[in-house]
């Protein structure tokens, strides 16, 4: 895992390698202080040698300054490396995610991808920072302090070799037990948050049924459960510091007892004893720090795993298969979408790549001529969205093939194929920025005239002009400043700006009222004569005047024809019409 992440350090690798050396200098300087102080007390003072005191003292101050310099250097190095590493990782993840296919996106879910790109990266970045500041420091401190302690007095150091294992054992005991309790706490936290969340979502139901007090009682129970467990966990954790202090104090007392005798017998100086006591603290603090860092690193490990999972994902749709070396075309050119015909040949599709699960589409054969206006109807789960998503190769067929402009979609460069096809997705989004910025997604070099024309065709121009800032109206993140129907019309305009050969609209007018929808259809018929239009719609009224209606049921084509033909002969279509005649009269 570390090996994998190491490569994202890139140009900062040298810094990470240099850091321990800087830390080593810092630590050595810091630790020589008690030793030098011991010299002052034991040598210079008894000799009444003021010069020696000054020499040693100046050396100490000098060492402190050196330590400050190298310490600051290390902080610089750590800052540059950790932030650089974070930025590299974030960019790599972002770029990777951009290559994801629809099915990759479905597997991860948006929320989880965002968490990985934000929290998880920050977690790793902080771990690197902390490691460069402390992780190398604590063991170096431990080792150096031990060496200094042994140099001062090897016999006295034996107590350290008793104290250290004691402390480690104590911490380990608490930490393992605490971790178990913390998992329990997490379960309770989830329960509390779950209750809050469902109350936020269902607040209307709570109020409509006057269940406020009922919910308060339910919450009190899960809240008390949480507090109870958290107190138990907390009580365990607060033992760590007293354990540490206890071991430290006991060791100090022992050192004074044994060391004091040595001083009395003149086998050790007073200053040395005081220096030794200082080292005890450094050593034991280091042990504590190391164990805490190790404990924290388990969290970083989880983040690293989540990040690597994304980085290791192979996008299942890519340009990698220019199978038909068509007529010696160069790598750049390849086929283009020069006319809007679409053909499905015995297409099967299932969402799981492994081939398990049921077919969402089975044996679909269908041919659409350039410029045709085609509607696809069918019940929920009939496979309508799936069918149209295969045309711009948002998913790959499981069997059979899809031809656009006479060429298998897998033989196009993805960018070429998709630039020729305009898609208005069912769950569409707008981005922050002005209306103009958003429409330009369809064509970044569109002129104002072209933008207006597209907006007019989507019946969006009038409401856009009703905003005080017109096309420069800021949409806010996710397009929060427009209504559902307006948003759908903007999405249509955006797709129209691509001037696509094929325009696919997946239930894209559900929030637009019937009259406006009819106007959109009318302007399409008048102004987009050469464009193949494929729409999915719920309302029979939306589809009855199209050139061709494709009826899907349970992943199969069960009828193709005009409204009248189908109404006369096709039982599934008849059922849909019947349910709407006595069914949906108003949509949404």
């Amino acid at each position: 895992m570390i090996k994998k992440l190491w490569q994202y350090l890139g140009q900062y690798r040298r810094l990470v390698v240099a850091s321990p050396f800087l830390v080593a200098i810092d630590v050595t300087c810091e630790l020589s202080m008690p030793l030098l102080m011991g010299r002052i007390v034991d040598t210079a003072i008894p000799k009444m040698d003021l010069n020696l005191i000054l020499q040693i003292g100046t050396l100490m101050i000098g060492l402190a300054l050196v330590a400050m310099f190298f310490g600051s250097m290390n902080h610089r190095v750590a800052a540059v490396a950790s932030q650089g590493f974070g930025a590299n990782l974030r960019q790599a993840l972002f770029d990777k995610v951009q290559t994801f296919s629809f099915s990759n996106i479905d597997t991860f879910s948006t929320a989880s991808l965002v968490t990985r790109l934000t929290n998880d990266v920050t977690q790793l970045q902080n771990t690197l920072l902390m490691s460069m500041r402390l992780l190398t420091r604590a063991p170096l401190m431990l080792i150096c302090a031990l060496i200094f302690a042994i140099v001062i007095n090897a016999r006295l150091s034996i107590i350290l070799f008793i104290a250290i294992p004691l402390l480690v054992a104590g911490i380990a005991l608490v930490v393992t037990r605490a971790q178990r309790l913390f998992r329990e706490v997490q379960v309770r936290i989830d329960a509390v948050n779950g209750t809050i969340e469902e109350n936020l979502i269902g607040i209307r139901v709570v109020k409509a049924f006057v269940r406020e007090n009922h919910e308060k009682r339910k919450f009190k129970k899960s809240n008390d459960d949480l507090s109870g467990t958290a107190v138990r966990a907390g009580h365990l954790v607060v033992t760590i510091m007293p354990i540490m202090t206890f071991v430290l104090n006991a060791t100090t007392v022992a050192a004074i007892w044994f060391g004091g005798r040595m001083v009395g017998l003149h086998t050790m100086g007073t200053g040395e004893l005081i220096g030794f006591i200082s080292y005890i603290m450094q050593i034991l603090m280091s042990v504590l720090n190391i164990s805490m860092i190790l404990m924290m690193s388990t969290r970083a490990q989880a983040s690293a795993e989540r990040i690597i999972e994304v980085l290791d994902t192979v996008p299942d749709i890519s340009d990698a298969t220019p199978a038909l070396a068509a007529g010696g075309a160069s790598a750049d050119s390849g086929p283009v979408v020069d006319e809007g015909s679409v053909e499905f040949q015995h297409v099967d599709f299932k969402y799981t790549a492994s081939g398990k699960g049921e077919n969402v589409l089975s044996d679909i054969s269908l041919s659409i001529r350039p410029g045709e206006f085609v509607a696809i109807v069918g019940g929920t789960g009939a496979g309508k969205s799936t069918l149209v998503n295969l045309i711009p190769r948002l998913y790959d067929v499981t069997a059979g093939q899809v031809l656009v402009s006479g060429v298998d979609v897998r033989d196009y460069k993805l960018a070429t194929l998709r630039s020729g096809i305009g898609v208005v997705l069912q769950n569409n989004v707008l981005f922050s920025g002005t209306i103009r910025d958003n429409l330009r997604w369809g064509n970044s070099s569109a002129t104002d005239k072209e933008i207006e024309e597209a907006a007019r065709n989507a019946q969006a121009h009038d409401f856009i002009m009703a905003f005080p800032d017109g096309y420069d109206t800021d949409l806010g993140q996710g397009g929060v400043n427009v209504s559902g129907g307006q948003k759908q019309r903007l999405c249509i305009a955006r797709a129209l700006l691509k001037k696509p050969r094929i325009l696919i609209m997946d239930d894209s007018t559900s929030a637009v009222d019937t009259a406006t929808e009819a106007q959109i259809r009318a302007s399409f018929r008048n102004n987009l004569k050469g464009t193949t239009i494929i729409i999915i719609a719920q309302r029979i009224s939306s589809v009855q005047e199209t050139d061709k209606i494709v009826v899907l049921d349970d992943g199969r084509v069960v009828g193709i024809g005009s409204h009248e033909e189908l109404l006369a002969t096709n039982p599934v279509y008849q059922a849909i019409c019947a349910s709407q005649m006595e069914g949906v009269i108003v949509n949404g």
Binding site: I53, N193, E198, V253, I256, G264
Partner: protein, 636 residues
């Protein structure tokens, strides 16, 4: 999150750019009021804290007599006695520290528990418009981040902050006692160094601000692009997104590097400040010792103190930032707690009644004793003469020139008047945003009208106690929300005292029984995550059963959307029809069968009633209703 708390203090150096609460004093006082519930425990903590801090400070001071009186003269028996005493002091300190930590955990958890409960209770009392103006995420983070911050600060930082200050002051006092001259030198040095690091940290605020801003931009961009990734792909926008992101990412990297570096430098300066003090004390002390003005014991004890004097400063700065950010969090929590709760000045209540036979046709209603449940209800109205009147609950609802706006600017309903007689079905049709749902939200007073009046059995709804008003109304909403619990619990939500048999009967009436029985555990199947394990149609059927069990005289139905398949639609239709029988029903209608049978159909457009009548008359008018029904636009 509890598992994210740090166990060791003062990792990572001071955080710059402290967040500051807007009203430090008031927020602190309020938080203290919460802590006041644990005042004796707090006193115990204070005593323990003094004991443990004192023990720590005494330990170093002990070096003086130990060295001067026992070690140097070689009095080992005396040394043993003194060490036993020292061990005793240390042990007291350790025990005190343990109990102080333990009690503080309990206090913190108790406080967090009470605050969480108060916040949740408050949330339940808020009017719906509050939830319109606050996102779920925003409110959730009050419960999670903010309360966690407060809890963590109480559990560790507050005590550590106090203890650091105590240790610092104590150390200075001990230093002064040991050697006033050395103390003065050290104090001067300390002051200089502290001023230096304060000035660095002041400068670094700029960097921290720009880091925060850049981070916000990076995260916002990630959220937006990853959220709209499918659109990015459809428009082949990947390259553009990557390069735009690279710019933001790099900006963040460079400002974050500066900020992180500066916080590190402050750590380095503060750390070495102690060492320089130590070295200076060693030189000065040595000088004084040579001139016989300082004994060895005092010198070593002093040096021990100066070795540690910088630590509490570091710790205090760290903890101060934690405490301040906790106060900011507490302030945010209090803001929600201070929000105006749902106003309810209604005095009319709903009571159970029995009818006494007398000369009149229906009999006279008489309030039933409190524990008696009858199926007859009446409004209890107190009159001016002090008597109360009982008005039978019948389900007669009128709108009289009602105008309403959510934001006080754009009217959503304009001058609506309508009349539903008991047992009638009124259907609302119209396109999205026409104001259909708003009308139903006014009947149950999710919102209050701004002009005009709505009466219920002749009583202004604003004078009816809200809870009683809502108890008399059943609701089936378009997006069905279920709660964690069994299917049975969810049906019983309609009437908490309903028996199992009544719930099953309701389910059967709502055509929900057959699918429930097919669930793995039948009625005991646990529903989680708002019913994620059920289909939308099944959730709708449960909602109908839930309304059924409540059995109110007036129903508000927001019909299922068109995205439900035909088979489920038929099932729901049957459930709905059963539910509507014999009640006053307001229905936001999508299905023709509902509309056709409605006594009155009201066609809304832009908040105004543009047509009204029954199915046949409206069709004959060839107006908006005809358009909506046939899907034919007048423009064609």
């Amino acid at each position: 999150m509890a598992n994210e708390r740090q166990v060791i203090p003062s990792r990572g150096g001071p955080r710059m750019g402290f967040q500051r609460p807007k009203n430090l004093g008031a927020t602190t006082r309020r938080l203290l009021a919460y802590l006041g519930r644990s005042r004796y425990a707090l006193i115990a903590v204070a005593v323990m804290l003094l004991l443990s801090t004192g023990a720590g400070l005494a330990g170093s001071y002990f070096l003086k007599p130990l060295v001067n009186n026992y070690i140097v003269p070689g009095d080992f028996a005396g040394l043993g006695r003194m060490l036993l005493l020292l061990a005793g002091i240390y042990l007291t300190g350790v025990i005190a520290a343990y109990f102080q930590g333990r009690i503080m955990v309990s206090i913190a958890q108790r406080t967090a528990n009470v605050m969480r409960k108060d916040l949740f209770d408050k949330m339940q009392d808020m009017p719906l418009c509050f939830f319109d103006t606050h996102t779920h995420g925003e409110l959730m983070s009050r419960f999670t981040n903010d309360l966690d911050n407060v809890e963590m600060a109480l559990e560790q930082s507050v005590v550590q902050l106090v203890s650091s200050v105590l240790v610092f002051v104590g150390t200075l006092v001990m230093m002064y006692v040991l050697s006033p001259i050395l103390f003065l030198v050290t104090a001067a040095l300390l002051t200089g160094m502290i001023m230096l690091s304060v000035s660095i940290s002041k400068k670094s605020t700029v960097f921290f601000r720009s880091q925060q801003r850049a981070l916000g931009e990076v995260n916002g961009y990630i959220e937006e692009i990853v959220g709209g990734l499918k659109v990015v792909k459809v428009f082949g926008h990947e390259q553009v997104a990557s390069s735009e992101f690279a710019g933001l990412n790099d900006e963040y990297r460079s400002s974050a590097t500066s900020a992180t570096f500066l916080s590190g430098v402050i750590m380095a300066v503060m750390g070495n400040l102690g060492r320089i003090c130590y070295a200076t004390a060693a030189i000065m002390g040595g000088y004084l010792a040579i001139h016989g003005r300082l004994d060895t014991g005092s010198l070593v004890a002093f040096l021990q103190y100066s070795y540690l004097v910088a630590q509490p400063i570091n710790q205090a700065t760290n903890q101060l930032s934690v405490v301040l950010s906790a106060l900011v969090s507490a302030e945010r929590v209090f803001e929600v707690m201070d929000a105006q709760p749902e106003v309810d000045d209604g005095t009319v209540t709903l009571v159970n009644v029995t009818y006494e036979v007398d000369n009149s046709e229906e009999g006279t209603p008489v309030e039933a004793p409190e524990d008696v449940v009858t199926n007859e209800w009446a409004w209890k109205v107190s009159q001016e003469d002090g008597n109360t009147a009982l008005i039978p609950l019948r389900g007669d609802v009128r709108f009289d020139h009602v105008t309403f706006s959510y934001d006080g600017v754009t009217p959503v309903l304009k001058d609506i008047s309508l009349y539903a007689k008991p047992g009638q079905t009124i259907a609302f049709v119209g396109s999205t945003g026409a104001g259909k749902t708003t009308i139903t939200n006014l009947i149950n007073r999710f919102y209050d009208v701004q002009q005009g009046i709505i009466t219920y059995d002749g009583i202004d709804v604003r004078s009816i106690h809200k809870k009683d008003l809502r108890r008399s109304l059943g609701m089936v909403l378009q997006d069905t929300h279920l709660f964690t619990g069994t299917v049975m619990d969810n049906i019983r939500y309609g009437r908490l005292r309903a028996t199992d048999e009544e719930c099953v009967l309701a389910a059967r009436r709502a055509s929900a029984d057959s699918f429930i029985r097919r669930l793995p555990q039948g009625y005991d199947t646990v529903i989680t995550g708002d019913g994620a394990n059920l289909s939308q149609g099944q959730r709708q059927l449960l909602a109908i059963a839930r309304a059924y069990v409540a059995d109110p005289p007036v129903m508000i139905l927001d019909e299922a959307t068109s995205s439900i398949d035909t088979r489920t639609e038929r099932l729901i239709e049957r459930g709905m029809d059963a539910l509507m029988e014999g009640r006053t029903v307001f229905v936001i209608a999508h299905r023709l069968s509902t509309v056709r049978n409605a006594k009155a159909i009201i066609v809304l457009e832009h908040g105004e009633i543009i047509e009204r009548g029954n199915h046949d008359t409206l069709l004959a008018q060839r107006g908006r209703y005809y358009q909506l029904y046939t899907g034919q636009s007048a423009l064609e």
